[in-house]
Symmetry: D2
């Protein structure tokens, strides 16, 4: 059961205040021990709840609730997954793929979760390291994706890809997306990638605008070691991003190594959660069998 | 070790005669017990080898060798996988994704395999049944794919898809491809599907020319039960095919059920086989890291 | 000015009756001479209006109004364009790309048109002939598209394409769509083709699930002579359709010749018609600049 | 007839020296008045030919010959088209779409052209201006394309597009390519655009990885005024490039205006030039009708 809960919000605004208000009402009724992140604390400055830094947020919590959109949940996931703390998302604004409870559903959904009526879903996380000769120059994590892409240039970059030390291809393109199932409905989908069911232990490599038209998305095991070597051609014009955040510039000969992290994000949903219903709503698919 | 081998060939022609000749020379040198299918026997009518029907071909064999293209190997796979007999492909003509040994490599490759220098790769097989009310009206198997498609009509068909009894979508299209990793480089690729690594336990659902542009390929576990219900609209104009062979017409309300068969095809490759090298050759990717 | 108008409807049902009622009220008020097609006459059997066959419908008319969806308008266009009679569409049910006036807008829109507040848009028509040796075996017309496609088979067909007698490519696929700008938002879009602005004098050749992944849509002048020769391989399994209607089976060596017809369809819209607004509504694009 | 010819080369290297040697041999035999650009002069420093700056190169010439790849030809085109001087390309290295004569064909091709056996092909040029309030802050030209794209950021940009002052759509994406027929086989093809025949008076708008999956390539008249307004969201992270060369950063509210320039590039080909043959060779299409 969840007795110690952390709240993290997108920013301090009216919508967050209202959502936090109804969430805290439920949590108080259940006498839950609550801590707030900086943004949440700003709209609830009463001192009733302890305010913590991002680093402390998940420290001794049973559950973290992210209030915002998919972006807020991605940020919260970075804080919770290394400590194996489950995570639940309340979306403000448009329905998210990850933050899939609306403010109106928040109180009811939270009651269900506190009553033990929930499902727990593991979402894998990618660990990315950049190797320059014998030195590891950067490490990052992606719940959605790791992307190697051209940066501040209009010219194509060359990427040499290896899976478990086997050469796959040498590709000239705008870059490559290495996406989890979670990320498969984000940028990878815009790049032409398939939708991957969240429970699968796979990742997809999606080339971005490849010069060779037969360079297509490739799905491999998430436990594979994916290595992308930056080609000598214009290598200084490439950058690695994790979940949309720039990690590091890369140079010719650098190797970007990506594989599944040992810890997964644990997403909590009130019972009855239906991933396909979210897909139908977000992608304007027909709602009913015809 | 392989001591009893069956040979199956595409058709009786000069190329098959030459290839069979060099294969039989190796097998004789190793004193292998050999049987031939009808086509093979036709080009080797000496009576030295027993001629068997397709049904008997794999009956008591350790290995079956298919001589032809990917089509011949698909046909051979149907004979070998229920009996768990491994299968090896020699291609005539263009390099295949499955029959990936050229005639020139056949003798050397076969020597390697007989000496125990080989890898064994499991390729999953789809079992497809068509349910009409309480009756199962047809059963088929696909190493590449099961396809539900419009037939003898230019009008779109409506398909309602369910994964493990959950509704996914209702789609108007030319049809849907349910493809194994093996089939992901065949018709599914032309339909816009991703390349799936052969070792993955997944299948991909690829819509064919869907009316709704956001209907995209979806990758799910191969152990999922995929059900496609034929919509009432023009249902008599649809057909199910397995690996390109028509299985059955379908009617409104029929349910096409697809899931992974318990037995997999066991592909034998001489050691050193490299799936990505085949992809590079077939898809005109750059051959070397740049 | 439009003084003699023909009405053509999808079928005799309640929605058609209501729409026809409000249209006829406007036409009577303006003392327009009206004739009805069979379906329209069935819901207005009073004898007040002359009932005509499809062939007679446009014979001496200034304008024809089609009541139904895009399918009804396509059917009406075949009757009007050879006689250079303008055409206007009222849609029942979902908004169409062609029949873009809703029943609610019908009366106001019609008033505007009768008052001379309208725009006239020319939409080109494809003429398709099938040549077998020295014989022309069939002729058809397409406002949307001419399609050569596999029929009653799961196997690919081979098509050799020539533009103005220059060889373009030999393609193995499910077929090829030759689409006008009008058809570019219909089946060609599902096949991966671009959206062509209706005023352009171009057609697009869209391969359907081509085996060679680099076979991409090609846009050429609508005045080009496009010739598609049916390859010897399985040629008897192909068929030509025009606007979704089967025209003829084709055999090995047949040449399907497609070019722009001298006459165009003249579409009438009330002033203020905005093609991009229709695209935004049908394709779920954002409605407002952000 | 061509009596005064300018030569422009990619760079001073051995391949350029050899190609220039055979070209100059032909030109001398025909007593052509020749000038060289800086790179050409560097490998032919004899003083026999006048060396000119890029700006002077086309000043009083009948013809300019570009020796290099498509990039060299794009650079040369900027020098020749405002002065209506025809242009011919000799490629070094891989066959280009534009520079389609190999060094081996150069001498023969040039002889044919000097003898009057050539075709002249007009390729349209895009003029791009960036409007900031009442000020025009930059002007550029593209024979291939004008691209508005995100720059030094991983976040999507918002672009509001207008055609001839009509609102088309508001799109969140990595950017948009506005491509001529010439550019349709360059970056626009990697972005999913169609192949446009070079003689067409059209341009294609290709969204780059659009967030809305129904944002598809749109083909419009090249005489259209295409305006792309930079959305307020993260507008400082966008840049305009012409033929791959950065033109200018753009800010929120800037309008990028693109339309066809009055002058076209005039490409000269020896008689018998076949654009489709180039497409077949570059895109690995089957070479012969099957």
């Amino acid at each position: 059961m969840f007795r110690k809960i952390g709240l993290i919000a997108k920013q301090a605004d009216a919508a967050v205040r209202d959502a936090l208000g109804s969430i805290l009402a439920v949590l108080n009724r259940h006498r839950i021990d609550v801590v707030l992140d900086v943004n949440s604390a700003e709209v609830h400055p009463t001192g009733q709840y302890r305010r913590v830094t991002d680093e402390e947020l998940a420290a001794d919590r049973d559950l973290v609730i992210a209030v915002g959109g998919d972006g807020t949940l991605l940020r919260a996931a970075k804080l919770t997954f290394p400590r194996k703390v489950p995570l639940m998302g309340i979306n403000l604004g448009r329905l998210g793929f990850l933050a899939d409870l609306s403010p109106a559903q928040a109180a009811t959904g939270l009651e269900a979760v506190l009553a033990g009526n929930f499902s727990r879903e593991e979402r894998c996380v990618l660990e990315c390291t950049i190797q320059r000769g014998d030195t590891m120059v950067a490490t990052g994590y992606g719940l959605n994706d790791v992307i190697i892409q051209r940066w501040s240039t209009a010219r194509l970059i060359t990427l040499n890809t290896f899976i478990d030390s086997r050469f796959v291809h040498s590709q000239r393109s705008d870059g490559m997306i290495i996406s989890t199932p979670t990320g498969s409905t984000a940028y990878a989908l815009s790049g032409g990638g398939p939708i991957l069911h969240p429970t699968l232990d796979v990742v997809v490599l999606v080339p971005i605008c490849p010069h060779t038209l037969t360079n297509r998305p490739i799905v491999v095991a998430s436990t594979s070691l994916i290595e992308v070597e930056i080609g000598v051609d214009r290598a200084d014009d490439s950058r690695v991003t994790c979940d949309g955040n720039p990690l590091s510039m890369v140079k010719a000969g650098d190797r970007v190594r990506v594989t599944r992290h040992a810890q997964a994000v644990q997403l909590i949903h009130p019972s009855g959660h239906d991933h396909f219903a979210t897909l139908r709503a977000k992608l304007h698919w027909a709602r009913e069998p015809c």
